[in-house]
């Protein structure tokens, strides 16, 4: 394509082809936007349980997120899947539990648990799974229609509300959030 080896444009192209490094914190900003907006309510539920039952490796790859001391960034999504009738409300009790995914970014954490009304506020019942070394934890649980209070427990001692979910009134001096699952 170029006239000769020392062609200036060729040298320019070779320079332009050099790999670049974007800020790894961009990953977190992308996930924050994804989870704090509409969530992924447009995906159908049908395949989710089948997928959950299949054994699969956990893809862990170095995201290279910069670790900032002390600060824990909480960003979470709950995914409300549509009911089989496509979102029409049904009498309570007529529809069963819906799988809801909780995702939180907690950089530097060694453990994160999802704790709420749905598991009797038992701090050991629903540990979350680290899905990447960038500190993104997630878990999917079935929730019955209704309003559920919850919070994340980081490293067994620090309570974290979900920044992307409505806050629950604070009765105990620690933050909590609310998720509503339609019937």
């Amino acid at each position: 394509m170029f006239e000769h080896d020392n062609d200036a444009v060729q040298r320019m192209v070779e320079r332009l082809r050099a790999p670049v490094e974007m800020n790894p914190a961009l990953d977190e900003r992308v996930m924050a936007r994804i989870v704090s907006a509409e969530g992924s309510s447009r995906w159908r539920l049908g395949n989710l349980w089948a997928w959950l039952r299949r054994p699969r490796p956990v893809p862990v790859s170095p995201l290279g997120l910069l670790v900032t001391a002390a600060a824990l960034a909480g960003v979470a999504v709950w995914w409300h899947g549509t009911s089989p009738s496509g979102g029409m409300s049904q009498p309570e009790g007529a529809s069963g539990p819906a799988p809801v995914q909780f995702v939180v970014v907690a950089r530097g954490a060694s453990s994160v648990a999802l704790v709420g009304d749905f598991n009797d506020w038992d701090t050991g019942r629903t540990p979350m799974r680290l899905t990447s070394q960038g500190g993104i934890w997630s878990v999917v649980i079935p929730l019955t229609p209704g309003r559920h209070r919850y919070a994340y427990l980081v490293n067994g001692s620090r309570w974290l509300a979900d920044p992307a979910a409505p806050r629950a009134p604070d009765d105990f001096g620690t933050p909590s959030s609310v998720v509503t699952v339609g019937g």
């Binding site: 394509m1 170029f2 080896d5 020392n6 062609d7 200036a8 444009v9 060729q10 040298r11 320019m12 192209v13 070779e14 320079r15 332009l16 082809r17 050099a18 790999p19 670049v20 490094e21 974007m22 800020n23 790894p24 961009l26 990953d27 900003r29 992308v30 996930m31 936007r33 994804i34 989870v35 509409e38 969530g39 992924s40 447009r42 995906w43 539920l45 395949n47 989710l48 997928w51 699969r56 490796p57 893809p59 790859s61 170095p62 995201l63 290279g64 999504v77 995914w79 899947g81 799988p99 995914q101 995702v103 899905t131 990447s132 960038g134 993104i136 934890w137 997630s138 999917v140």
Partner: protein, 178 residues
């Protein structure tokens, strides 16, 4: 797991898995965005927007086709809507050691100056020419793929690439002889 496997998993409801795709494509797509838009801030914004759009429109991805090119097309379109802000200039090239080892010129120019020259050269191109030039010579796409991605015919793309090369050569020659 393959990119397509992860994308299918995200589509089934595993939102968290999308982070893996972001990590895999961040730098690859970032290179195009940086050179097309000329500064890191705009590039990061375009990159973020593209990933978010990809997530939200994942239902439209044909899962028999590779995920990467589909994602790249979203970025290319997104970059078209961002005007290149020539006032904002950053150091785009971080890995000087890599380019030092590949520079063929007998006398390697000062890299900061060379990088600045490259940026000015790209700035001079019309956006359509710059896009075609980057897709062909930096991203090394085939013309058929470029046509599918841009919606522009192959012969028009070839003309844009040739025009871009001529303009760049002219400018770079002029600069080097100053």
């Amino acid at each position: 797991m393959s990119d397509e496997g992860i994308a299918r998993r995200v589509r089934s409801g595993d939102t968290a898995a999308f982070a893996e795709l972001v990590a895999r494509y961040r730098d690859r797509l970032g290179r195009y965005a940086l050179h097309m838009l000329g500064n890191r801030e705009d590039a990061e914004e375009a990159l973020q927007d593209s990933f978010v759009r990809a997530y939200r429109s994942l239902a439209r991805w044909n899962d028999t086709a590779p995920f990467g090119p589909w994602l790249f097309a979203i970025l290319v379109n997104r970059c078209r809507t961002t005007g290149r802000r020539t006032a904002r200039r950053d150091r785009i090239f971080v890995r000087d050691d890599v380019t030092l080892s590949t520079a063929p010129a007998p006398e390697a120019p000062d890299h900061a100056e060379w990088d600045d020259t490259i940026r000015r050269a790209l700035d001079r191109l019309a956006p359509a020419s710059r896009e075609a030039f980057l897709l062909k010579h930096v991203e090394e796409l085939e013309y058929d793929d470029m046509a599918r991605l841009t919606g522009v015919g192959v012969s028009a793309l070839k003309m844009r690439v040739k025009r871009a090369c001529d303009e760049l050569r002219s400018f770079l020659t002029e600069v080097e002889h100053v």
